[in-house]
Amino acid sequence: MLNADLEVDARGLNCPLPILRAKKGINSLASGQVMKVVATDPGSVKDMEAFCKQTGNEMLEASQNNGEYHFNIRKG
């Protein structure tokens, strides 16, 4: 299991709130650090991928478990 430097809880939130949380979270990290985002909005799968692409951060892992979506994102 990957140890994240920051965990962002976006459960129960719908677009655009998880992206807003992720943006604020990643801004607080240094390059190379990892942020874990936990969300429940199914749309977050597509949105987080787009977020990584548009912000130059790397999606290390995306998984789904019991209606929760987990994303590990490394700051670029």
């Binding site: 939130l13 719908n14 677009c15 655009p16 709130l17 992206i19 807003l20 943006k23 604020k24 949105d47 787009a50 977020f51 548009q54 912000t55």
Partner: protein, 215 residues
């Protein structure tokens, strides 16, 4: 002539024609025969692509859903403050919907037709606004960045304002607002909304918390 269309082209043509008819007359106002007649084909050909009128209607809605506007880019470009994000997502939504007035007409028809699933579909498209406003105002109220406000009612008021602006400009084509382009009208409504919840007042007065940023 029409018989030479490929299956994918035929499907796209059916969806385009059906969308115009559904937007004119609503789901119940259109028959499969009428759609087939408009396409210049027999109902049998139409049924080869869609098993029922309901399936065809769902396909039209699905096509709209696939074109769902993405708010990721505007959120990334925003400064993260409540007003900036709200303004940007409103512009994206208004721009997207105003280019497709048939969608607005379908939304109006669905309000009267009593199908919960369809009504839910259209309401879901508003959810980014209502959820964002409700959640953010709740947080800001708690932090006393703004005066106490009922977040759900504020979200409903905002949805009502923007929806009415879209109807006035794209459906009624009201001469009353002819001098105001839709994006400008919506920007003014966003300003009015922010003023009405006292957003700028408290946030600007408090220099230690620039722009009343939501966490």
């Amino acid at each position: 002539m029409a018989k030479r269309l490929k299956a994918s082209e035929r499907r796209a043509t059916i969806l385009a024609v059906a969308k115009v008819l559904f937007s004119d007359k609503g789901y119940h106002g259109v028959s499969v025969d009428e759609i087939a007649t408009r396409l210049g084909v027999s109902p049998a050909i139409l049924y080869r692509h869609f098993a029922s009128k309901e399936e065809l209607y769902e396909a039209v809605l699905n096509e709209i859903a696939c074109k769902r506007e993405s708010y990721v880019g505007v959120v990334v470009d925003s400064d993260g403050s409540f007003d900036d994000v709200l303004r940007r997502i409103t512009r994206i939504y208004v721009d997207s919907v105003s280019r497709d007035p048939d969608y607005l007409r379908m939304e109006l028809h669905s309000a009267l037709e009593g199908s919960d699933a369809t009504r839910q579909f259209f309401e879901n498209r508003w959810k980014p606004f209502t959820d964002y406003i409700e959640f953010s105002l709740g947080e800001m109220s708690t932090r006393r960045d703004i005066a106490p406000v009922e977040p759900r009612v504020a979200a409903l008021a905002f949805q009502g304002m923007i929806r009415e602006a879209l109807y006035a400009k794209c459906i009624y084509r009201s001469s009353r607002y002819v001098d105001m382009p839709l994006p400008e009208l919506c920007d003014l409504l966003v300003d009015l909304f922010l003023q009405s919840i006292g957003y700028g007042v408290t946030a600007r007065a408090d220099t230690t918390n620039p722009a009343g940023q939501a966490r």
